[in-house]
Subunit: 398 residues, 2 copies
């Protein structure tokens, strides 16, 4: 069984390493050796153990009929999309770790795969080493999925964990994360929640069978979370986690990415540092959770290689996942209900005038009051805080 | 697609309920309706919504060629084995929730399934609603599995959680669990670890591809755990969990079921009450964990129905899992290394004479001393405590 890797960065070279390290057990599982024949990369890697595999033109791989499995670990939508499409059209199955590609072009690539009787899979695109895609599409198939709550970005979870542990402020922790390589120079995609947004769009597409546009998902990141917010959280016995959430409201799913105040009774409270976890609630199963390394070269490569085993066992057999191009209309996010933690400069009497039944979270700060509202819709909440005024910050309760 | 259920107890009737509640989404996933045609049970269920399906002779199901999928939820090895074997030989795929059957006859039934080009699957037999079987056999296939640590018995985890929370002693909590229906009248299989033992034997068979005899696994239950042990645990900042463990030592796996002292940094520490979790370490993936309801009618039935979807999608196609009848020789358990927490009536000088580098866990009890040893093999530890004498109890550290 011959394979190719497109993109020899952190994950692509990790895939080569997993193939080499575990070659015996992989051959046993597949029934024949899984051999790396090509690596596509524009850069040179002199002295690399796979030096003989490098090519610079993807068409060399396209035209080699021996290659049945192609790994895409380039990242970004283009030229990854063009290359992956060409591979599928040439009768090769593809696995990718590229969530931007999957969120943007997943449904389309799945259709192309079906048409050519090959497979397009992407276990590594969400949750790194956590097998959440196959769990949703091949394991929890007896259930209607009622809710997914995912900590699916390692950078932000690392930052929040450290802010909590050391009482630091956002900017300080971001600088540290950047110096350690846990956050990128331009950290926008992670810290503003865009990465998590693409991932929950993919998961919601898989459970609805239709195409969720990530642009439709209200997305807040962690850049406004402060050391004071964590002081309040601690006083409430809670932690703050960036959660990508999809929840069935009536017969529709509502999606949202935002920081939430989480209780210790919720297993997500205990997910620290760069680890990720996806909590899934089924209508029969009840609660379940899948936990592991959400990023990192080897955990992500492990998921890619797991996909390669699947592809090798299903050569020339399209396995339906059920994700069509039809647009999925998400539920109106302003109808979602939450309890909210609010910091405001307003007086207690004004607060109680606007919100009945508040619980105060008292830090004895001079210039502000912290309180938790009763449960209400986003619409109603937004009207009330607009009327109250003097809002410093708002965090939803999970 | 026609199906039959053998055994209409808690889980069997749960399966019927899941099939009815989720029939639309199941039909969508399979591509046709999944219809329950027979229920085998010697009892009568007058007024049951599935009343027309009941039969008392399994041969009625065997001879009906329309039935492609059979669910076994009777429990016990016989007559379940005879019935399941007959179904497989008649060209029907089978899913079972029966860990006794799988631990005892799994490899044999898998061979029969292969011979007749049908499938024998058992997601619900380990971890109830946690999809750990498919995770090991179809997801984490890029890895060499280095360690599995499972809290896979809801009864004992419920009891330990309550002993911890209320400071109660074993006998008191057992009586309470029995009165609430969480423990059986004869609780031996649960509290002595035999149930967990069968489950880790199954998981280890799946990762080795050979047949692990559960009789080879050293098994301790929780019946010797006392309120005092939990006081020590609390003083050490730990909890006590019954863990079924399989770990690669050199090129062999060692298995053991025993109570362990677990730290909060270990996700298993946070698994409370009847919930179960399986922690899996891969050589590339690193740590991962799968958490959910380990028992209960609907979570278990959800796993059975997930299997039915798999079977429906793979009618007349044997999907190799890789579990042969060849006996797997486990590693010598006396060579496993642990740190041990020991309560003894010995003097500190005798303790320090026998064990260098001990850490004391001081509860200021009159008649005993608690201490933690450095890491050593079971063999060495057993020699030293025999020499020391006056041992009250021993719990390993995880």
């Amino acid at each position: 069984m011959k394979a190719a890797i497109m993109g020899y960065g952190t994950i692509g070279s990790g895939v080569a390493k997993v193939l080499e390290t575990n070659k015996d057990i992989l051959a046993e599982r597949i029934g024949e050796p899984l051999e790396l024949k090509y690596i596509l990369d524009l850069r040179d890697f002199p002295g690399d153990p796979n030096e003989k595999c490098f090519v610079k033109d993807y068409k060399e791989i396209v035209k080699d009929k021996d290659v049945k499995i192609v790994v895409e670990t380039m990242g970004g939508v283009e030229p990854a999309f063009t290359f992956v499409k060409a591979m599928l059209e040439a009768g090769k199955s593809v696995t990718t770790s590229n969530k931007a590609l999957v969120a943007d072009k997943g449904a389309e690539l799945m259709q192309i795969a079906e048409k050519h009787n090959v497979n397009f899979v992407f276990e590594a695109a969400v949750g790194g080493g956590i097998p959440i895609i196959r769990t949703l599409t091949a394991c929890l198939t007896g259930d209607v999925i009622e809710e997914i709550d995912a900590i699916c970005n390692g950078t932000t979870n690392y930052m929040l964990t450290n802010m909590e542990q050391f009482g630091s402020d956002y900017a300080e922790i971001l600088a540290e994360a950047q110096s350690l390589g846990y956050a990128e120079k331009d950290p926008t995609a992670d810290v503003e929640g865009f990465d998590s947004c693409r991932k929950i769009a993919i998961l919601t597409s898989l459970i609805t069978g239709k195409n969720v546009d990530f642009n439709d998902i209200p997305t807040e990141g962690i850049s406004k979370i402060s050391a004071t917010d964590f002081k309040y959280a601690k006083a409430m016995g809670r932690s703050i986690k960036l959660i990508a959430r999809s929840v069935k409201v009536g017969d529709k799913y509502a999606c949202r990415v935002a920081p939430y105040l989480v209780k210790p009774e919720n297993m997500l409270y205990h997910v620290s540092g760069v680890m990720n976890a996806v909590s899934v609630k089924g209508n029969m199963l009840g609660e379940s959770m899948y936990y592991g390394a959400g990023a990192g070269a080897l955990p992500t490569a492990s998921a890619v290689v797991g996909d390669m085993v699947f592809l090798a066992k299903n050569v020339d057999k399209y396995v339906k996942i059920g994700w069509t191009s039809e647009k999925y209309q998400l539920s109106d996010p302003t109808q979602e209900q939450f309890r909210y933690f609010v910091r405001a400069t307003a007086s207690q009497s004004n607060i109680e005038n606007e919100f009945e039944n508040v619980e105060y979270a008292n830090l004895d700060l001079d210039d502000e009051v912290g309180f938790i509202t009763s449960e209400m819709t986003e619409r109603e909440f937004n009207e009330r805080i607009a009327a109250l005024g003097g809002i410093i910050s708002v965090i939803r309760l999970a």
